[in-house]
């Protein structure tokens, strides 16, 4: 799968036409009465050492994308190629072996750490399961991971509840690093943290990337974090990527009306910022059970046209690595 656009780094993940629907069951014999189209034809790639952010509102399917790549849920369509290997239909056993290359950090460090295990055991667990090193070396390795994520070695024998939220997230990061993965999926990994602590963790993630050449798939709703951390950004709306580009382009030259609105309403910490040109969308994200026909965004779109109701807009290439799916863009180009 090296057919896509040439990128500076080696591509370590390629997702093509990923589709994930969840059946809704009901009735007497609990047959399928509907489908939640959580992810609907999503494609992107991530290169070594790169951060791709997926940004969107609740219910847009961004977390499902992350969970599907980890194969925590089995995708219903499309392919996932990781390290040159098609993992879409790997068995549980094979996937477990492969998963050392892709690790995950979750939003809530209070529920993602086992309260009965010491911090040291939590971080060592992946190493013990995958047997990547002899038992005699594990302790030393865990200690070096503690150093790497800025946790005191004195905390190794403590339990998760004895740490603060920011420190717990550091434990989760240390655990994710334990198997030296190529890619870490961060699902809202800093959203639950206070801003002063969030900044510490963001800097840590950046340093680790520089040191270890990690790639991140960063799933978040927070645009300010996206701008700080990512090389490229994919904007999702109701199961689809509506726009994808490098970070600078997304923020300085967004093309999709949803991206434009999202960026314009992101609260700026500046009381004198120009707020006159902001686009306040009406309504809320429609239900993915019964999405609008044609373009999913048309019910809230400020520049909606007749065609948007009938036809789903094809993804158009706008520049190097910049794509967007909007009928309006076709008009302007033509």
């Amino acid at each position: 799968m090296n057919t896509s656009v040439q990128k500076p780094g080696v591509e370590i993940l390629r997702v093509s036409d990923l589709e994930m629907y969840f059946p809704i069951r009901g009735g007497l014999i609990s047959h399928e009465i509907g489908r939640v189209h959580a992810v609907n034809g999503v494609s992107f790639g991530i290169s070594k050492g790169e951060t791709l952010s997926i940004v969107g509102e609740s219910g847009c399917g961004k977390s499902t994308v992350g969970r599907t790549i980890m194969k925590l849920v089995e995708p219903t369509g499309g392919t996932i190629v990781s390290m040159g290997k098609d993992i879409t239909h790997l068995s549980r056993h094979e996937m477990r072996r492969h998963r050392r290359n892709i690790q995950m950090v979750f939003q809530d460090p209070y529920t993602s750490l086992n309260p009965r295990m010491m911090a040291e055991e939590i971080v060592a667990e992946p190493i013990r399961i995958h047997k990547t090193m002899p038992e005699t070396e594990v302790g030393q390795h865990v200690a070096s991971l503690f150093d790497k994520v800025g946790l005191p070695r004195g905390g190794m024998q403590k339990f998760a509840h004895e740490f603060s939220g920011g420190q717990r997230q550091r434990i989760a990061i240390a655990r994710a690093l334990a198997l030296s993965p190529q890619l870490i999926i961060c699902d809202e990994a800093v959203s639950a943290l206070d801003v002063s602590i969030q900044a510490q963790v963001l800097n840590l993630l950046k340093d680790l990337q520089a040191d270890l050449g990690l790639a991140y798939l960063f799933i978040t709703h927070d645009l300010s974090v996206v701008e700080y951390l990512s090389h490229r950004v994919a904007v999702m709306y109701l199961g689809r990527i509506v726009e994808i580009a490098d970070t600078k382009t997304i923020f300085s030259n967004p093309q999709h009306p949803y991206t434009k609105a999202l960026i314009s309403v992101s609260p700026l910490p500046d009381p004198d910022a120009d707020r006159s040109s902001r686009i306040i969308l009406s309504g809320e994200v429609p239900s993915p059970i019964n999405p609008p026909s044609g373009c999913h965004f048309r019910t809230r779109c400020p520049v909606v046209m007749d065609i948007c109701q009938e036809e789903f807009p094809q993804t158009r290439k706008l520049g190097v690595g910049h794509k967007a799916a909007c009928h309006k863009i076709v008009d302007e180009v033509a």
């Binding site: 509102e57 603060s164 801003v195 002063s196 974090v225 992101s266 306040i280």
Partner: protein, 341 residues
């Protein structure tokens, strides 16, 4: 919706030296340690702080909705329309808070009763506090729903809370808070649980309602973005104390407290260089707040004086700008040299 009594700029709520403690097992947690501030008519006051700073507890104590025990107001006063709220009986206080002060909570679903329709719950305010008939109260409820931008208000008044989306639920809660023409509205993290496009809608709604009705509005938040968006004046809280209070522009442009500056520098969207400058360390354990300035273990400017002597909230760089820092002049000077560079 008529405007409150009083003139623009009159003091509505005056809190002096408020102390709140929590008894937990053997230790005492000092959640609020001598908080003093005023809320004025027609003004939006933002109370900014991270988790555990005491921002919510302060207002729960003022409204008498603190979990007690373990929480207890151990000192200070909160004067609202001439009455010290802490000296009133439960029923007197309830009459005042129910009639004159509206409250908006972070999680609208838990603030609404799931077994009554939206319209009935809003109408309840008119029936209980205004003694209106059911029909009149229902009509007033529909009017209010229109005011807060609920589409198709007549029909939606007959829906139950679970049938609304997050943003619409928050509109319901705002409608309830505004129902009885309060003079003061307190909103605790009103947009934190909402998506960013919906947050923009709700902030715009709060702003316009506050302008129309000329009430005093308090927004409790952890977000610098929300503060910049909506506030006139800001109180920055840390470890149950107010560290800095000033006009919103002064907070951002003439930051005088190292903690406020740290918050600003931690915010990815106000970043100038290519790296964030976080505040080092962790917020203090409220059961053992460090002596002297509670921020000194995390402060890069801390000197011996900070470790022993607690700074009082005093006049800072300008008349209406107060700051609790022994060395705020250094912060201001640093900041100025940074800006001029």
């Amino acid at each position: 919706m008529s405007s409150g009594s009083g003139k623009l700029g009159d003091i509505l709520l005056s809190v002096r030296d408020l102390h709140v403690e929590f008894q937990t097992g053997s230790s005492v947690v000092n959640a609020v340690n001598g908080v003093t501030f005023d809320v004025r008519n027609g003004e939006t006051l933002a109370v900014l702080g991270e988790s555990g700073s005491g921002k919510s507890i302060t207002f729960e104590a003022i409204l008498g909705i603190l979990d007690s025990p373990p929480g207890k107001v151990t000192g200070g006063e909160a004067v609202f329309e001439g009455n010290n709220l802490f000296e009133l009986s439960r029923s007197q206080r309830r009459a005042i808070c129910g009639n004159r002060i509206g409250m908006i909570f972070q999680d609208p679903l838990s603030a609404l009763n799931p077994v009554y329709t939206a319209g009935w719950q809003i109408a309840e305010m008119f029936r209980v506090h205004r003694g209106l008939s059911v029909a009149d109260a229902n009509q007033r409820a529909v009017d209010l729903l229109k005011l807060v931008g609920m589409p198709d208000a007549e029909r939606r008044a007959k829906s139950y809370p679970h049938e609304f989306s997050g943003g619409m639920r928050q509109r319901l809660v705002i409608a309830m808070a505004l129902a009885v023409d309060p003079v003061l509205v307190i909103a605790d993290e009103p947009t934190t649980a909402l998506d960013v496009t919906v947050e923009a809608q709700i902030l715009a709604l709060l702003k316009s309602l506050q302008k129309q009705n000329c009430v005093g509005l308090v927004i409790i938040t952890h977000s610098m973005g929300v503060v910049a968006e909506i506030a006139d004046r800001v109180c920055v809280m840390y470890a149950g104390r107010i560290m800095e209070t000033a006009d919103v522009r002064a907070i951002f442009a003439e930051t005088a407290h190292p903690y406020t500056l740290g918050l600003l520098n931690s915010n990815p969207s106000s970043m100038s260089g290519d790296r964030l400058i976080p505040i080092i360390g962790q917020p203090p354990d409220l059961a053992s707040i460090p002596p002297g300035c509670p921020f000194h273990p995390r402060c890069t400017l801390a000197k011996d004086k900070c470790r022993t002597e607690e700074p009082k909230l005093q006049q800072g760089p300008s008349q209406f700008h107060s700051v609790a820092c022994h060395f705020f002049e250094e912060v201001v000077a640093d900041r100025e040299s940074e800006v001029s560079q």
